[in-house]
Symmetry: C2
């Protein structure tokens, strides 16, 4: 069994590592030839639009999936003619456009922060009337890790905000003074069976995920979040791991964004769940039974961002797991992550505090 993955970053690398014990081989496709998957999988390099390189990527693949959602939808449609693609391209298309995504949430009755389409300076003025201030202006496409965003505090900043979009279509979103950020990861099989991981609490820094903790133990929120994920996956005819980021505010859950792939906030599942998100994604796209998503104790995850971590001091801590991605340091670059596990939440939190201090996170 051989699976093709569009994208060869750390997610592709961890998918490949999860595949070997199951007898599933992985071949990645990435525009960058020294991307993190290079060490652990076959890697074909070329632009996403390069039909010749794609033709070298496809032979012998049983299915294709992706670890990066900004793959051109046309690339996926081209591949689909030869090899089945999971999840189906519609999830990709919806997820690539922040406006389509929010409209999709709304159409399915899933609450979101208030939002408005913005295509011009004039529309921005009107949109502020709907969302109120503060608000966040975001490019509809190609933003990730906080890029392509402008936090709008005063009406006077509207011109600067619009100019920062560089003429790209945008969406204005109400700024939600949330109590916490949560995410829910679910996985759906080819035949429609679905399971959900325990809720995850996330902390972002500079728009980039910094820390995750799981499980976030709130049965009512868990039920609501899981139900949202199931509803979205069902509507999309989804297959694979699916991530939904949520704000918890005033007792409600508001959908912020979705990702049609394995997700940074689920990295704790390698040690912290019965079946990791990577293994479950591969099980789903290869038609194998889904694995249990039950938590094993209490877990935390800290991203290693920008600089090499103090490896020896991290590994000297019991219950701590290091995951490096084989990347060279660069400001704001995700170089790896550290997972901590413990038998109770207090023990987890103590260990997590130590790791955060070591990593300056």
């Amino acid at each position: 069994m051989k699976i093709g993955i569009l994208g060869g970053g750390q997610l592709g690398r961890m998918l490949a590592l999860a595949g070997y014990p199951l007898g599933i081989g992985v071949r990645c496709y990435d525009p960058v030839s020294d991307s993190p998957a290079r060490d652990v999988a076959e890697l074909i390099s070329g632009p996403y639009e390069d039909a010749g390189a794609l033709a070298r990527f496809l032979p012998g693949l049983d299915a294709v999936t992706y670890e990066f959602e900004n793959v051109p939808a046309e690339t996926v449609r081209l591949i689909e003619k030869t090899v089945p693609v999971y999840p189906a391209p519609r999830a990709l298309e919806v997820g690539q456009d922040r406006l389509a995504e929010k409209e999709f949430f709304t159409a399915l009755g899933i609450p979101t922060p208030r939002f408005q389409r913005v295509g011009s300076a004039g529309e921005l003025e009107k949109a502020i009337g709907v969302t109120g201030l503060p608000a966040v202006l975001k490019t509809r496409r190609s933003g990730y890790d906080g890029k392509g965003q402008f936090r709008l505090l005063r009406r006077e900043d509207a011109t600067a905000a619009w100019q920062s979009m560089g003429g790209n279509p945008a969406i204005l979103e109400e700024f939600v003074p949330f109590e916490r950020e949560l995410s829910v990861l679910a996985v759906r099989s080819r035949d429609g069976a679905a399971v959900c991981y325990p809720l995850i609490e996330n902390v972002h820094r500079n728009g980039i995920l910094s820390v995750s903790r799981a499980p976030y133990p709130d049965p009512l929120l868990q039920k609501t979040a899981s139900e949202y994920a199931y509803r979205l996956m069902r509507e999309l005819g989804y297959c694979g791991v699916f991530a939904l980021e949520l704000f918890h505010a005033g007792g409600r859950l508001l959908a912020n964004e979705m990702a049609p792939r394995v997700h940074n906030s689920g990295h704790w599942s390698i040690e912290g769940a019965d079946t990791s998100q990577f293994e479950n994604h591969l099980r789903a796209v290869t038609g194998l039974p889904l694995g249990s998503t039950a938590a094993r104790g209490f877990s935390g995850m800290v991203n290693i961002i920008g600089d090499h971590p103090p490896v020896e001091r991290i590994l000297a801590l019991p219950g701590v797991h290091l995951h490096l991605y084989g990347k060279s340091p660069r400001p704001l670059r995700k170089l790896g992550h550290v997972t901590v596990t413990a038998g109770d939440s207090a023990g987890r939190d103590r260990l997590l505090a130590t790791v955060r201090e070591l990593l300056g996170a």
Copy 2:
């Protein structure tokens, strides 16, 4: 950091998979070019005596270790001139000779079954007088998984037994009617720090490990077994994971054999311990701090031997992990293993029984 491994079997494969998250690359050396490590690591192929192939293996390695104990000691001594080898060759030499091994145990005050050197038919007669019957005649070298052994029940079988050795030096060992087989895995760092995994209970079939269960909860036996492992490692100036197989008989622990490497009976540690034996071996040989060996719940391991397993039925069980080695089926060949984990020993045993039934183990 790059580590060379002599041998590219499943142990090399699992060492390589454990290395990537730590930023440790692996290059294997194996006489067989399609050995299981081929998918996940660089693989150099050649006979162990081929200086030319070894010269292609060594460049850029920070240390060399092994996953197979029948590497010629001269090969290791040659490599040592260029690259540090962990564990040091003495462990290999002692472990390669069943007689030297038993004498080494005895010299360190570690009880063993009664044994006698056998170099001729005449010596076998005399040896039977020492060990009594039944007894087991074994070649001193190159036996593994029950090969090169003759179970001697009656004096009249002595001639047939000696002939089955093909003229090779042998050892006669008392047959111990043990209550159970146990093994203890320990790991020692370059600077002499050492930790021990929980005791493991093993069941062999046809001389091949079939099932392991851990922890085997007996604090007194654990203390004795750990102390034996520490004593042996200290005497050998050992670095890396070390395995000691023991018979539990009449309330005593008798040392049966040692392995200077990661060990089949420790495969449960991937999911069942804070730090797997593979990660801890790499930590030891690269000079990193050793990881916690504490058990995570109760684990069991079943070897997949001879035939492809029913993958879908195995993966449909919660708390079950599949590890395939990328080998094609062949009678008595280890193709993979299945680990089960549970929160209590009864749950583990139920799951283990189901998996054994599925695998016919």
